[in-house]
């Protein structure tokens, strides 16, 4: 039914995951770190859907249901993460992630 090679989907997912990891590791703005995490979550979802095409019957649906839960978890993560960014930015007055290193204050 789908003529797209699952290998190509996996390669694309690996590329997006690597770019997301690069964003998380190199950028200092805290918003970029959050967006890098979203990129990595998207890459894993894409990988799930790509692998679900290699199974038949009910197993192929399982690979498409798991990303639904991952998307809900990502929504909760973005919600709490952005609230923490607002909270810390009020105290520190910057969005530089190096300033967010202290656990006290």
């Amino acid at each position: 039914m789908t003529p797209i090679e699952p290998l190509h989907v996996q390669l694309l997912a690996a590329l997006i995951f690597s770019i997301g990891l690069a964003v998380v590791l190199t950028r200092r703005n805290i918003f970029f770190v959050l967006m890098g995490i979203e990129l990595m979550l998207n890459a894993v979802n894409l990988s799930f859907v790509g692998f679900s095409r290699t199974f038949s019957g009910e197993m192929s649906l399982t690979g498409q249901i798991t990303p639904l839960f991952t998307i809900a978890i990502a929504a909760a993560e973005a919600c709490v993460g952005l609230a923490m960014v607002i909270c810390i930015t009020r105290v520190k007055d910057t969005v530089d992630s190096d300033a967010f290193s202290g656990m006290r204050e």
């Binding site: 003529p3 590329l15 703005n29 290699t54 969005v95």
Partner: protein, 194 residues
């Protein structure tokens, strides 16, 4: 929706969506202002939802557009605009020593490619018996307890988790917990003096 596409056309669509996804992801890495990166990230989400539709999971593509490109990215844009100190010339984009850190994702990508290409061909073969992810089969597989275990308990847990996350976010982002009481007393004083 894409079921009627022939092999060549869907390959062209996959190349287009894949190139758009990779280009927008690189745009997130290289952009200077967070709002530009947000637009690039929304482009990534939309292109990935197109790939979901090509992979015969249209429901997941719709959810991706609704939740990711709609709700989550709207929240990110809103917070960046509210804080309004997201200018990246205050925060350096990439420090010089950070270019060395780029080796880590590069090595990870090389490892991924090596592992995937070393897999035997029948592991990564498209199965013609795989089901198309429309709403009806996904809902049946999620909630029908008669035919299997179902995912309803996980579904309820996700609902509770989202509720707790929203309450926690409101408590974290409020300026202080007794702000409404102060506002209330100020209002009452104003009412009394009036």
């Amino acid at each position: 929706m894409f079921q009627g596409l022939d092999v060549g056309l869907s390959t062209i669509y996959f190349l287009l969506f894949g190139a758009a996804t990779a280009a927008c992801a690189l745009g997130v890495l290289c952009s200077r202002h967070p709002l530009n990166a947000t637009i690039c990230l929304i482009g990534t989400m939309l292109a990935i939802s197109g790939i979901y539709a090509l992979l015969a999971s249209p429901f997941l593509g719709v959810v991706q557009v609704l939740v990711y490109a709609g709700a989550i990215m709207m929240l990110v844009v809103f917070v960046i605009m509210v804080l309004n100190r997201a200018r990246d010339h205050e925060v350096p984009r990439i420090e010089n020593w950070s270019y060395a850190v780029l080796l880590v994702p590069l090595l990870l990508f090389i490892t991924f490619v090596h592992t995937l290409t070393a897999l035997p061909a029948e592991t990564l073969k498209s199965d013609p018996g795989s089901l198309r992810g429309d709403i009806a089969p996904i809902a049946k597989s999620m909630f029908d307890v008669n035919q299997g275990h179902g995912y309803w308990l996980l579904f309820e847990c996700i609902g509770v988790l989202l509720l707790v996350a929203v309450v926690g976010a409101v408590l974290l982002a409020k300026r202080s917990l007794d702000t409404p009481v102060e506002m209330l007393t100020v209002g009452e004083e104003a009412h009394d003096s009036h």
